[in-house]
């Protein structure tokens, strides 16, 4: 359903992605793990065109696009079917919780206000934020903000949702509430790509895990297999280092 081929990306001549191939099927939850600086976030940002790849191809929604020469219109089309959850939430601070979710539906997608309203309350209920609809982001905790950000991302029913380290900016006691929402979405069959340091989430919730390092995919496979029986020595090292911290 979403496939990228041979993505290359350098920041001022330092290569960050060195030929990544990556594929997500409908209904899959793919966790991308790896040490800091391995290019996980950059991969997600290239897929969503927040960064321009130096080379690569994307197949999404049955269309193939050259990632370098794609037009603004096509980028917008891709984004219309893509949700993105940021590490730092990025809720619109000038809008209430309700308006944050409504914005993508009414302003961007010209959805009927009445329908959009129904949808907004539906997704806010799903993330457990119905009691805060009239509040501004500044009045919410980090965990609450991230749950609203998830509601905003899922409201237009995108084909895939990209999560960029959604719990990394949260206090440990707040990560749980966000992960619970994500588990719920996974159970409902939402297609998700999650860059994460939460090994528990990757192991228990993801259907497939991709281990990246130095801009390449070192190993990928079914979550259970990769965690219990990694093929690559580097994967084994990383997983054992991570498990010490859990």
């Amino acid at each position: 359903m979403l496939e990228v081929k041979n993505i290359h990306k350098s920041f001022s001549k330092v290569p960050v992605l060195r030929g990544i191939d990556f594929k997500v099927e409908k209904g899959e939850v793919v966790a991308i793990i790896g040490p800091s600086g391995s290019g996980k976030t950059t991969l997600l940002r290239c897929i969503s065109f927040l960064e321009k790849a130096d080379e690569g191809e994307i197949v999404f929604d049955e269309y193939t696009h050259d990632m370098v020469h794609i037009s603004k219109r096509d980028i917008k089309k891709v984004r219309m079917n893509m949700g993105f959850v940021f590490q730092s939430f990025n809720l619109f601070s000038n809008m209430t919780v309700y308006d944050n979710v409504m914005e993508g539906l009414v302003t961007a997608r010209k959805m009927d206000r009445c329908e959009a309203r129904k949808k907004t309350f539906e997704v806010l209920e799903k993330v457990g934020m119905l009691d805060k609809t009239k509040n501004y982001p500044g009045e919410l905790s980090g965990g609450q903000q991230q749950r609203v950000a998830i509601a905003r991302a899922i409201a237009p029913d995108p084909k895939v949702i990209l999560f960029d380290e959604p719990t990394s900016a949260l206090d440990p006691e707040l990560t749980g509430e966000v992960l619970d929402v994500m588990k719920k979405l996974a159970k409902e069959g939402t297609t998700m790509v999650v860059v994460t340091h939460e090994m528990g989430f990757a192991r228990d919730v993801a259907s497939r895990v991709v281990f990246m390092e130095n801009g390449v995919v070192v190993e990928e496979g079914k979550a259970k297999e990769l965690f219990e029986n990694p093929k690559e020595e580097r994967t084994r090292q990383f997983l054992s280092a991570m498990s010490k911290h859990e």
Binding site: F92, S93, K134, N135, A153
Partner: protein
């Protein structure tokens, strides 16, 4: 203390009292509208110049920079003279008041452009990225997300410029606009009491700028995004209620 009595002679007191309204009224009728109209024009120009710069529109960006270079780099009074005394020789003759509005507005526009530009730059990049990811185009993202957030950032500096402008409008006296300062000058010339009259003019400017300072504090308190009682029942504009049946 005969000395004091000597300075504040009955004649002087009478002049000050009778001139107060004769300075204040041109202040209210001319200085205030001159300030407000010029400011409005400067905000419009400033916003436009800032937007073409941050949007990185090739030729317009250079035009904006050129404009700012000229208007920040030359004295306001010279600009005023060029517009009022100079333009007629090119066949463009303006009355004193519109000429002053144009000069003050265009001059302050260059400064406000920088105020808006830095306010827009101060908004975290993530806000624009989030706007893109929910499907907004660049102009929409600016209009709905970035500019509304930039405004409170720009506000204190804009108001600072407004207060400067209020005082700078006294320069309009040099192109025959009969405003607050011109009125004081006329009375001072007639009565030979320049010290008292110009102090009185200063006092009236001070009253105006103090009022603006109060207004600034009052508005700044309103520019915070937090839920208030007034917001509670927003969006009643559509017929569908917010009940459980609808949500389920």
């Amino acid at each position: 203390m005969y000395y004091n009595v000597d300075i504040m002679s009955d004649r002087l007191v009478e002049i000050l009292v009778s001139s107060f309204m004769r300075i204040l009224i041109p202040g209210i009728k001319v200085t205030v509208p001159l300030t407000l109209l010029s400011f409005l024009l400067s905000v419009f120009i400033g916003l436009l110049l800032a937007l073409v710069q941050v949007a990185n529109i090739k030729v317009l960006k250079e035009v904006a920079r050129f404009y700012i270079w000229i208007f920040r780099g030359t004295p306001l009074i010279v600009q005023l003279f060029i517009i009022f005394f100079g333009l007629p020789s090119l066949g463009i003759t303006l009355n004193a008041f519109p000429a002053a509005v144009l000069a003050f507005g265009m001059n302050l526009g260059a400064y406000n452009a920088e105020v808006f530009r830095s306010a827009i730059m101060a908004i975290p990049k993530g806000q624009l990225e989030a706007a893109y990811m929910i499907g907004l185009s660049y102009p929409r993202a600016m209009a709905r997300v970035i500019l509304p957030q930039s405004f409170p950032v720009a506000f204190p500096n804009l108001f600072n410029n407004l207060i400067s402008l209020l005082k700078d409008t006294s320069l309009a006296s040099s192109i025959t606009v009969i405003e607050l300062f011109t009125s004081a000058q006329q009375i001072a010339a007639r009565t030979y009491e320049p010290f008292a009259l110009y102090c009185e003019a200063a006092l009236i400017y001070l009253i105006f700028s103090t009022a603006l300072t109060w207004l600034q504090r009052w508005i700044e308190k309103k520019l915070v995004w937090e839920s208030s009682e007034n917001d509670k029942d927003k969006d009643k504009d559509c017929g569908c209620g917010r009940n459980k049946a609808m949500i389920g």
